[in-house]
Symmetry: D2
Amino acid sequence: MTQRAPELRFYDAETALASRYREVRRTTSALAAPLGPEDCTVQSMPDASPTKWHLAHTTWFFETFVLARALPSRSPYDARFGLLFNSYYEAFGERTPRAHRGLMSRPTLDEVHAYRRAIDDEMGRLFERGLDAEIASVVEVGLNHEQQHQELILTDIQHVLSQNPVRPRYFESAPPLASNDSNGGGHAHAPPSLAWLHFPEGLRTIGHAGDTFSFDNETPRHRLLVPAFSLASRLVTCSEYAAFIEDGGYTRPELWLSDGWAARRAEGWEAPLYWEKRGPAYDSFSLHGVRPIDVRAPVAHVSFYEAYAYATWAGARLPTEAEWEISSERVPIAGNFVETGLLMPRPLRETGTAGPHQMFGDVWEWTASAYAPYPGFRPLAGALGEYNGKFMCNQMVLRGGSCFSPASHLRRSYRNFFPPGARWQMTGIRLAKDAT
Amino acid sequence: MTQRAPELRFYDAETALASRYREVRRTTSALAAPLGPEDCTVQSMPDASPTKWHLAHTTWFFETFVLARALPSRSPYDARFGLLFNSYYEAFGERTPRAHRGLMSRPTLDEVHAYRRAIDDEMGRLFERGLDAEIASVVEVGLNHEQQHQELILTDIQHVLSQNPVRPRYFESAPPLASNDSNGGGHAHAPPSLAWLHFPEGLRTIGHAGDTFSFDNETPRHRLLVPAFSLASRLVTCSEYAAFIEDGGYTRPELWLSDGWAARRAEGWEAPLYWEKRGPAYDSFSLHGVRPIDVRAPVAHVSFYEAYAYATWAGARLPTEAEWEISSERVPIAGNFVETGLLMPRPLRETGTAGPHQMFGDVWEWTASAYAPYPGFRPLAGALGEYNGKFMCNQMVLRGGSCFSPASHLRRSYRNFFPPGARWQMTGIRLAKDAT
Amino acid sequence: MTQRAPELRFYDAETALASRYREVRRTTSALAAPLGPEDCTVQSMPDASPTKWHLAHTTWFFETFVLARALPSRSPYDARFGLLFNSYYEAFGERTPRAHRGLMSRPTLDEVHAYRRAIDDEMGRLFERGLDAEIASVVEVGLNHEQQHQELILTDIQHVLSQNPVRPRYFESAPPLASNDSNGGGHAHAPPSLAWLHFPEGLRTIGHAGDTFSFDNETPRHRLLVPAFSLASRLVTCSEYAAFIEDGGYTRPELWLSDGWAARRAEGWEAPLYWEKRGPAYDSFSLHGVRPIDVRAPVAHVSFYEAYAYATWAGARLPTEAEWEISSERVPIAGNFVETGLLMPRPLRETGTAGPHQMFGDVWEWTASAYAPYPGFRPLAGALGEYNGKFMCNQMVLRGGSCFSPASHLRRSYRNFFPPGARWQMTGIRLAKDAT
Amino acid sequence: MTQRAPELRFYDAETALASRYREVRRTTSALAAPLGPEDCTVQSMPDASPTKWHLAHTTWFFETFVLARALPSRSPYDARFGLLFNSYYEAFGERTPRAHRGLMSRPTLDEVHAYRRAIDDEMGRLFERGLDAEIASVVEVGLNHEQQHQELILTDIQHVLSQNPVRPRYFESAPPLASNDSNGGGHAHAPPSLAWLHFPEGLRTIGHAGDTFSFDNETPRHRLLVPAFSLASRLVTCSEYAAFIEDGGYTRPELWLSDGWAARRAEGWEAPLYWEKRGPAYDSFSLHGVRPIDVRAPVAHVSFYEAYAYATWAGARLPTEAEWEISSERVPIAGNFVETGLLMPRPLRETGTAGPHQMFGDVWEWTASAYAPYPGFRPLAGALGEYNGKFMCNQMVLRGGSCFSPASHLRRSYRNFFPPGARWQMTGIRLAKDAT
């Protein structure tokens, strides 16, 4: 947060911030609206959290990091909620183990909604009274944090519903998806063929700088030498990935990282998560229920290990995060985000331009880069310093956002990260190559 | 089920059966009434099931074993419910793994209640049309089965609520328990001191016979030679059990079975389940929330291993199931069952009689007997043969019923059984001794 | 141990005891002789122990229970050996966890043999000086204890060698087994067909009494009412067991106990331990290496769960231990014990008598009886009281001894016990039936 | 391997190669010489291998990658050895699971030594006949591979011996260590105080190039932009690490990575591996047995997680591997390697020079760099391509070599790698800082 002209920034930005606060909070509630109290309570695996927990945790975040700081004499809404809804902030003491979030039948969903409304009211009054730049910057963190949980609400409920033998849908009825009209392989609308876009060697600059919001892990903006490389003009499609499977991709250890092959064997992977063999083709489970895969759409729900194996099979590799960020420089941040309402990746239509296409939205793109601090990285002070830095080990960086991401949440410098075996996120593949 | 005078039995019994059906089903719903959809969805461990599952499974039992058999042309209420609500009947094909019952957010609680009503309506029409003796006997099994699940609804929701860091109560407000008025040790109402009741050696007969209902595992009634023994006149109290703890009961391996000691170490047991040290005394979590233990009440929530260690410490042993059944011969089947509404064990008041007291109700009593077939045991034919026989290994027999049991469900010959490490059931201790 | 005529018993028995001591100790060493230091060091699973550990533990037993008691001022041979070679006696303090016995590369095999010789020398001097009846009785326990470990040396090294991909043999060369001459099914020497031997109901007496040695778990001798039953005249053969497999025995849950079916699935059992499918037939790994099964020989290396499933499939059941003991009353304790040197079960030849045959030797016979204390059971005082009593839970009784058992170790009242899932012991099946 | 002037290289290099082959192989055998067959058989954890396996696997490597390739018509020494002694080459088919290497009692240690001699004889004949450049380069790989296993023989047997409750020594008698003369804190010989060496920003070049041997993962040599940084002049000492412990280093989550804190809790870490609290001080187990730590010596047996937490506590960070390599440019490759015979880290003496000191030998230094391919990395063709590349995930790079490493094995560009939780290797800490 810049300190220049604080007075000016103070009033104008505050109005915008209050408005943005209301908008983000409303969106979160809207995402939970199709779900009943039972749906919102279930935790289907330790990595995923119940919807109810997401609704309450994001609220606890504002209560703890904003209200408790701005109003030191204030009493907590419920003194027990820290124990229940703190995620991982060691600075705030004991908390419920992650894997036990599905054991909390109380507070009820109604009680959590009441909690949301009460904190929103308090926040509204705080906005009216005005807040200083430091608190405003924490509100910004809180809103971006809540947007991350918006995406998690969708990925996690998809996993919950997938575990139910009767495979319920998130939506009451599946919308008629334009993208799905020629499923089964009509070539009329096949995506444009994959082209390679060349980038010369150069001293480049990546990372975030300037007045606008970013997470601490995107800073400092810094220079680095990037060798010449080529980037694929589009994402890998389900059709291409199915060819990898048919060519024995899941049975050839030479294509895989050692840990990847071990995971594949231990977990019995034979296709992306949610894919189910049906005769010669595949169905896939999504928020729309079980439907045939759209062979033209980007493949999703693959782990880093599978992305790596696919890339090796294809005679290519994954891009580094620096290569990805450089390549995105002139690409507008537009695409199939949560706002399209599709909630599934969408095939690329002929565009007439060279690309790269699909850089933002559809699926998060696994990179070859381990999640590590940028040179000179400094975590935020205080408990918010736990937000990003302490996870910089055993995770891989993903870039670009997905069809579950809010558009306003993304940046070219945005660094998402997950362990290499994670598959329940909306994750896919873009290829790269060394320059020849 | 006897075949004598089927006509007579047919009409009269049917009316009684229909009435009893309505009564049992109503009770089940009443037990779930204080719980919301979130409570009814959570599964807190693989051994326990969500309330919603109990509500649906007992209904599926009637649909599958009664309606589908009585009305062969009938369509199932929902073809997917077998997959969801079959417990362990291999004869009915694939089913959801036990540990995954908490993943079913759908059908919702409302939908399960609708399922219950629909099957109840069908059953009502079946009762009106009349049913033959064989079907009637299966209805009897189904009602006794549902009564078992009534008890499990209570034991399982107690465990669910105990796992919540905020420790909610099953009851909105704890009733003023007369039994708890002098908690802290007033001697005015201390239970009568433990006396030993002597039984001479003899050829005895145990097991169920006759026209009335029993489970197959209680048959055949048979003779066996029982050596002379002594039985304790009452249950072990919390006060006595606390003395065992204070005397190092949980730190002295010589008191324990080898497997029990291993379980104690692995699980970190230092007191019964739900007990929590508070200063020099103990609190306990029950359906009434966290309250000080009533030192005069029977100890509950101990495993067989703990019961064995306590008995060894006390210079005694646990009774065999034959000893228990013989001792119960003249004891009326009366006591603190679910109908008292206490839902916790109750201290014994002075009675003026020799006893044995507290044989029925309060807590199930661990016996020294491994659960095994009686000589000449024959399981029921068909899928119902899976009900009892296939569990006759690695389990110990319990006798007498608890404060969670319906009174009409119990018999002197009733054989309950659980693995020796189970603690979440309402289980306690009665001592026995070899005659000297 | 009787107290009658102690003087007489003292001198005569002592000479016999010293002689028996030397014989038992020599046998143990002889069983280890074909094995090198590497073989003697490996532990292939937590349940089994390295040969070196058996050699040392049995020696520690005499040092601790006999020498340390008889010679209170004596210094231990090596003060660290209790930590290493105590098995499970809580009374003697800390010890190495069972699963870590294979981590002890030191002391070396040579050092353990030196330990054995040193303790044998001390024991020899003790025998020369004379020992009182109480110490003599502990020596008896020690010798029987060592004989149990002789059998374990064989079962455990068989498991070790089986885990080696190159499948080494315990014997340098496999002996020409007469019993194996018509493997593949020559009917000339097929075992006599299975007959049912009938026993009427009666008040019977089982258990050990008298002056001779027994373990405490065989006492007290006591009466019990045994209903009429029939016992199979011989053991179940490999041929019969193969028919069970071919009839889908491992794919039909209705034949299995619930825990057995779960174990079968979790472990992937499709045949007895050590059986390997080769075309339409089976090979089996034994101390003689991999060889075709002898279809006429008793099946071995089945768990209680498999024995139960086989019996159910055969329309029979397993005998109780009382039935077994009663049936053995007139059967001489003779058979295929370790002394035959075969070290594998042997087909039954035509005998001309009704039987029961093969009651002793060949394979331990699973009974339907859970291992429990006899009425009035009192464990030995002191640490030896841990020998048997504390294992009386979650185990099933086996009777009769095996081709790995020393002849002098067995009695009609002998109670062996293992958990129902154990398969690495030399365990087989005899059928029984209710009288009709 | 260069192709220039192959004739010249052929003859001269071959003689040197043969000589080096004999030397390396002799060293391996010498390292195993103090160990008996029992020591050489034990596997103490899945990550570590028995000495016998190391002796055989390194031999199998030459047989498989050199002899089988150079002499296509040759029969294998023992056709079963691939199954036993292949480590992880998927290209060579099935192999024994890593965790089962301790189950192989056969072949015996003597048989493995015979295998080594036989392959050495064959290799000797091959050297006499002459080998082409391609085969020679594989021999180079094999020798470097064997040197890696020399280090593993030491780390793995240290772990084996540490698991033995009696704590045996690798050496019969501990040598009088000059480095240990003032243990307990004499300040006369305290190491020089830690200084910071500054390196300006610059385009640097790292990686291996040229004719001499390197592993594929050190290539290609490439340029990168390295920001200004400071490197510590020496390693972190035991004394400094003890101060971290005393300051609550193991109880303060804010110092740790999230995964590191989870590992610390799960494993119960309270000090480096092999440290044992004794009063106010620490003992440590090494190949010399249990001895007081030398507080002046570099700390060893810490995981990356602990190194990270220590660096955070010290207000510093770990160096990247590029920073380390740049800093080492003018440092001679000399230090406390396996050839000193100390087999433990040695305190730094006053040197009179600025340093950096202790860059080579003593302990491997954890870097902040995840193990990843260099830009343009190409694995070797064929099975040897599995050597390095497939492990480039979930591992951290270590630099510099240790007191267990052969001097001739190391290079400035050498990249060692282990998972961040590994502690049984000889691993320590050097600090770095951003330039200020």
